[in-house]
Point group: C2
Chain length 411, copies 2
Amino acid sequence: MEVQQAHEFILHLLLILVAARLFAELADYLGAPSVIGELMAGVILGPSLLGWVEPDEILKMLAEIGIILLLFEVGLKTDAKRLLYASNKSLFVALSGFLFPMVFGFVLAYWLFDLSLLVSLFIGGTITATSIGITVRVMRDLNCQQAHEGQVVLGAAVLDDVLGVVLLAILYDFSVSGGVSLVNVTKVILFIAIFFAVAPIAAKIMSVYVSRLQENSKLPGVIPTTIISLVLLFSWISHQLGAPELLGGFAAGLALSRRFFLPFGIVISSDRHCAECVEQQMMPIIQLFTPIFFVYIGLSLNLAEIDWGSPFIWGFSLSVFVLALAGKMIGPFFLNESIWSKWAIGMAMVPRGEIGLIFAELGRISGILNNEIHAGMVIVIVLTTLLTPFAMKWFHDAYASHLCAEEQVRG
Amino acid sequence: MEVQQAHEFILHLLLILVAARLFAELADYLGAPSVIGELMAGVILGPSLLGWVEPDEILKMLAEIGIILLLFEVGLKTDAKRLLYASNKSLFVALSGFLFPMVFGFVLAYWLFDLSLLVSLFIGGTITATSIGITVRVMRDLNCQQAHEGQVVLGAAVLDDVLGVVLLAILYDFSVSGGVSLVNVTKVILFIAIFFAVAPIAAKIMSVYVSRLQENSKLPGVIPTTIISLVLLFSWISHQLGAPELLGGFAAGLALSRRFFLPFGIVISSDRHCAECVEQQMMPIIQLFTPIFFVYIGLSLNLAEIDWGSPFIWGFSLSVFVLALAGKMIGPFFLNESIWSKWAIGMAMVPRGEIGLIFAELGRISGILNNEIHAGMVIVIVLTTLLTPFAMKWFHDAYASHLCAEEQVRG
């Protein structure tokens, strides 16, 4: 029986990886973000449709590693300097795009749908963070990355992500302790502050240690094993301090990022080379694990259990969706920009992605969001991600002359 | 509780990876093969000593992926051409070094220690295969790889490994069906023959498909996900046909090897480049998973349960160890070589490694080898691996003038 289990696990993993790749390619071919394809793969393989793969304990752990590594990658690609010196415009777009959806979502859930405080907070939280990945991807496809709007959006999306992770840590702590304690909130914020202040020092020690070990060791595989250990260590510490594991992944990624330098202008010469080989060797591992996370979310959805006839789910998701749009569009209209740029920036901030899905998933696992609300939130995330690329492409084609000025000079 | 489990799993994986690296480096520093360090890490973390990590289901699955990927790597680094055109000397050394230990081990266990047929066959099987990895490593350390003896040993070790895997498949089938059926044995041999005949065609289709996908896909991560899928697919097919999963990993590796060409001189031009990038991107993943396998073996050992006072375990392991030495040393003495070369070749064939550990582990999992015999076999493998590098270094230093002639001309 034990041997059979191994072979079943192999089959499940095979189905997950193949379906994820297949539907991601299909989504990409149809002009949708590939993450949608991976979610669909899970929905199709899981109890919602075919029932071939159950979201079991082992897959859950692999998915957990997947989220942590995904946040590690986000951290690795986050420009800490840009984070520190984000322009006022980015800061404004980030803060408004964080606060409005949070408040809108909370108010809607708490007062209109009469949900509990914690559920309403999770609903608000789920729609706060713009997906850097999807936004960057869409802007690259439209050749807008180097344009003025692109720079504002990128800075805002990065800040936004950090705010989202901080909020997630606070809500996670809240969900565990069961009340809004000022002490706990302060503790979490303090922890995150200390964590991010200590990270550079840890990074210095670790990167020196790793590169020294790599130079001196006659054994292969230094980078994959030590860096994964580092990520797991940070995740574990993060959990021990009351924050979700993935925050540790993000901190480890940020610390190892090639654009991360120590304060006071201290630059370690070995850092740059090390950061490059870390990225090169970690990417295959990250790329292997992250689809498992998104497919796992699809597997856990169980759309078959949801009463699609109930007006609640439709009313709920559609109203949250409208607020998720509005929450991101309001801020940019207060900027000193042309009307087209305001629209472009607002639209680019709409896609929710990884952080939103992690919010929803954490809410589901801890029993805060029931099946119906979880599915509703995933529908909202999918809609923001699915529709934005098409909307942006249409807007860009229609008003190209007013947009991406810098790109046209450069291009 | 569920969330806590994830954090416990993260801690266990962290401990495994860190301990594996630490003890592997320590073993290497002390002049022992690193695999010994990884086994020790498992013994120390597991129930034998500290009891911090239990060999649970999830780790078992990761270890399973680890073995499969290890065999994939062995396949990837196996020179199929050298396998086909192995010199007569290599063929003779391989066959004698396969048959003598098998027969010696079987006779000892069956007649002297009065063990059952299946147990005796597994004991014989465990000491058949020379560890390519360790042998190559030791020869490289002694600068002997390009020498005449090195070539003979390398060819023999490769053949030997294939014979070991074939024997493992037969014994596995035997252990499942419960009897020595000529039909089953023929089936397994036939399957392996067909499998290895079909592999090139599969490789052609797959490599063309993978490289085409990689060229056309705008999504990252084609190689890690598709190649792991391919390995899992071959492993699953292998299981479905009655052979152990790891044979599929070996076949997939052999098929994707950069030295693997289709028969009749058909060379696919895209193959070489593809094989290189496959190796480059797969190595971090392989290097991450394989230590988990060796640590897992250490975790499963439970040396605390063994009665170390019983004369059986000492008499058993030491007599198997002597036969494991003798079995590999006899063959080379019939070669037309100088007495020093005979000794050098025989010694280089002594280290047992991955295949032996896999034999022992499969025997343990299927309940064929009890705790005591399993531990005894692991002790034998550890002794062959631990002592050989020291013995070879001493022999090489003492008789250098008579050895590695070609190397001295080249070097």
